[in-house]
């Protein structure tokens, strides 16, 4: 059994892992950059090691530094969390070579699933649906047009060499096919010096639904049902929930089986997520493999709430060589859980990320609400790292109850000193389309982009209360609550 884990991460996920370790009697070693010397994860761990300057590239992303730290502290395992090096095959390999358990899949699995082309081929061979598309053999106008017809409209034609939308054209029907193919080829040549074109089905308002999978070294691969993550703003997940309001039992059955097949094909180990795009509604909806995340997800807490499991604990058990801790067929969804990501960003100013000091920060505390956060009152939110301050997860007997509870929690979550997306989250939770559950991945960008376009006026009673406050200051806050950049009152050392 693992006895001593180095946590190669920071913030809320580092705290989450420390908590799981503590309950399993595993010693924890935190790492910290200069900007994080007194961050909550450092204070919570049993031991802590400095790993370099604030920029992540010199600290949390530095493989040699992390490996040396793990060796110096005699860690027998490294947990990468999410983000940073969690999907780095090189880091996993370095751990393997250093004789330290990497809490995740083997490095070759990470690199296999990290390659879009290899992953796509693997899925295809395992019978997992992928978005139909290919490079037509006949690259003439008529050849590409025929390929588009075979795939069906609407379709996409794009530069095979490219990415990021350059040389990409949406083709609604056969009439506009030749023109689109020629324009795409021109742009492809101009941008990449290569006019080869790729054709692909254009999915109609797809939903993002992912399946949590888990595998041990004894041949057991299981799924822990789905998470619905269609509420995205510019490809950034904002709200995640389970069960998905869009999945019928039959569709759920097909998707979870495909996810298990995908994980088996990848020879997967530990916790992972198969992301799908879902097109259409009801039993007959189609789903397509998007990618696999070979790590713990930000939104894992949604699954923990609905399925009643502890995914981090299971990760540590499986990494220790234990079998999956769940009986075959014993897992089920119960009730509904929904998570909101609280970001330091200003929804009234094009979601500009915010940095600064948390003048006041109080977390909501109520039954059925879990807050995973990595910040505290008086702390500085810096520009160096991800702007996510916290996740708020609400669970309820029904989707409506869970949403009401999440809204109640957000309405009792004061964060002052920097703007957050809390008012935006409340507006989305109140949106009739969101309430009905009928959204797709473009919903937030298309319909909910301007939900918080102006700063509201305080109501009359509040204006009066603030007038009464006058010049009253309530400032001992930053001295009684600590600031991680304040001068530290360090008492004398003592040697014996």
């Amino acid at each position: 059994m693992i006895r001593r884990v180095l946590i190669a991460n920071r913030g809320e996920i580092a705290l989450r892992i420390i908590q799981a370790c503590r309950e399993m009697n595993i010693e924890t070693i935190a790492v910290f950059s200069d900007a994080d010397a007194r961050a909550p994860h450092v204070l919570a761990a049993d031991r802590a090691v400095a790993i370099g300057p604030a920029p992540a590239i010199q600290s949390y992303l530095s493989i040699p530094t992390l490996i040396s730290a793990a060796r110096a502290e005699r860690a027998d395992a490294v947990h990468p969390g999410y983000g940073f090096l969690s999907e780095s095959a090189a880091f996993a390999r370095a751990c393997e070579q250093a004789g330290v358990v990497f809490v995740g899949p083997p490095s070759e699995v990470i690199s296999r699933m990290g390659s879009k082309i290899e992953a796509r081929q693997l899925m295809q061979s395992a019978g997992v649906p992928i978005v139909p598309g290919h490079v037509p053999h006949d690259q003439s106008d008529s050849g590409v047009r025929r390929a588009l017809e075979e795939i069906g409209f609407p379709a996409l034609v794009k530069a095979s060499a490219g990415g990021g939308g350059k040389g990409m054209r949406v083709v609604e029907g056969i009439a506009e096919a030749t023109g689109a193919v020629q324009a795409a080829r021109r742009e492809a040549v101009a941008s990449f010096g290569d006019g080869t074109l790729y054709v692909e089905r254009l999915l109609d308002r797809p939903r993002h639904v992912e399946v949590q999978v888990f595998a041990d070294a004894f041949g057991h691969t299981t799924h822990l049902f789905e998470r619905e993550c269609s509420a995205q703003r510019r490809h950034q997940k904002v709200l995640e929930e389970s069960p998905s309001p869009a999945l019928t039992p039959a569709l759920r059955q097909r998707m979870t089986q495909a996810a298990v097949a995908a994980a088996r094909a990848a020879e997967y180990r530990n916790a992972g997520t198969i992301e799908f795009l879902v097109e259409g509604r009801g039993d007959g909806a189609n789903f397509y493999f998007l990618e696999m995340n070979t790590r713990l997800q930000v939104e894992h807490a949604v699954t923990e709430a609905v399925v009643g499991v502890d995914l981090v604990r299971a990760q540590l058990l499986v990494a220790s060589g234990e079998p999956l801790p769940w009986e075959e067929g014993s897992l089920a969804q119960r009730g509904h859980a929904i998570e909101a990501r609280v970001y330091a960003e200003d929804p009234s100013r094009e979601f500009l990320p915010q940095a600064g000091r948390l003048l006041l920060y109080r977390e909501p505390r109520m039954p059925g609400v879990r807050v995973d956060a990595g910040v505290a009152e008086g702390h500085e939110v810096t520009v160096h790292y991800d702007p996510m301050l916290a996740k708020v997860i609400a669970v309820g007997e029904t989707r409506d109850a869970a949403i009401s509870r999440l809204a109640a929690a957000l309405r009792a979550y004061p964060v002052l000193g920097i703007r957050t997306n809390i008012p935006y989250l409340l507006a989305v939770l109140d949106h009739s389309r969101f309430r009905s559950g009928d959204i797709d991945t473009s919903f937030l960008d298309r319909e909910a982009g301007d939900l918080v376009h102006s700063v509201p006026e305080p109501p009359a009673f509040l204006r009066e209360a603030l007038r009464q406050l006058g010049d009253e200051a309530d400032e001992p806050r930053t001295t009684t609550h600590e600031a991680n950049t304040d001068p530290w009152l360090t008492l004398r050392d003592w040697r014996a």
Partner: protein, 138 residues
């Protein structure tokens, strides 16, 4: 009709506001000239003292007008990702002038109005503090 508002401090930065028979909890931080206020999921910011006209928080990138020159300043500490225009460029309102990078995201800084770039005070890769002058528009 008579209505009363009663404000009572109940903790650090925390106030009970009683009005029309109702209890509301309000959180307040920052100096009187720049209050941050939280109530019921909403955040308000400004100077709410009796004799101060209400100030709406600035919207969009801060642009300080000096005579006919408008200073484009960084809204937050960031790295300059790219400078999209050069001295002498004509720009239209909404055009991207500079792209800053912070917290793994790109922040396009757009022209607050039509004009001509009079000066560029930053270069690609540079780290800038909040309110640092990036560019002047005329």
């Amino acid at each position: 009709m008579t209505s009363a508002v009663r404000t009572t401090r109940i903790g650090a930065g925390t106030y009970l506001v009683e009005h029309d028979g109702r209890n509301e909890t309000v959180y307040v931080a920052g100096p009187a000239s720049d209050r941050w206020v939280f109530w019921n999921g909403q955040v308000f910011r400004g100077d709410f003292r009796p004799d101060t006209p209400l100030t709406a928080p600035a919207a969009g990138p801060k642009a300080g007008a000096h005579g006919s020159v408008t200073a484009i300043v960084a809204p937050m500490p960031a790295r300059v990702g790219s400078v999209a225009v050069a001295i002498g460029s004509r720009v239209r309102k909404g055009d991207i002038l500079i792209v800053l990078e912070a917290m793994k995201m790109e922040l396009p800084i757009r022209a607050p109005g039509d004009g001509v770039v009079a000066a560029v005070h930053c270069e690609e890769g540079q780290l800038v503090q909040a309110d640092a002058a990036l560019m002047d528009l005329e």
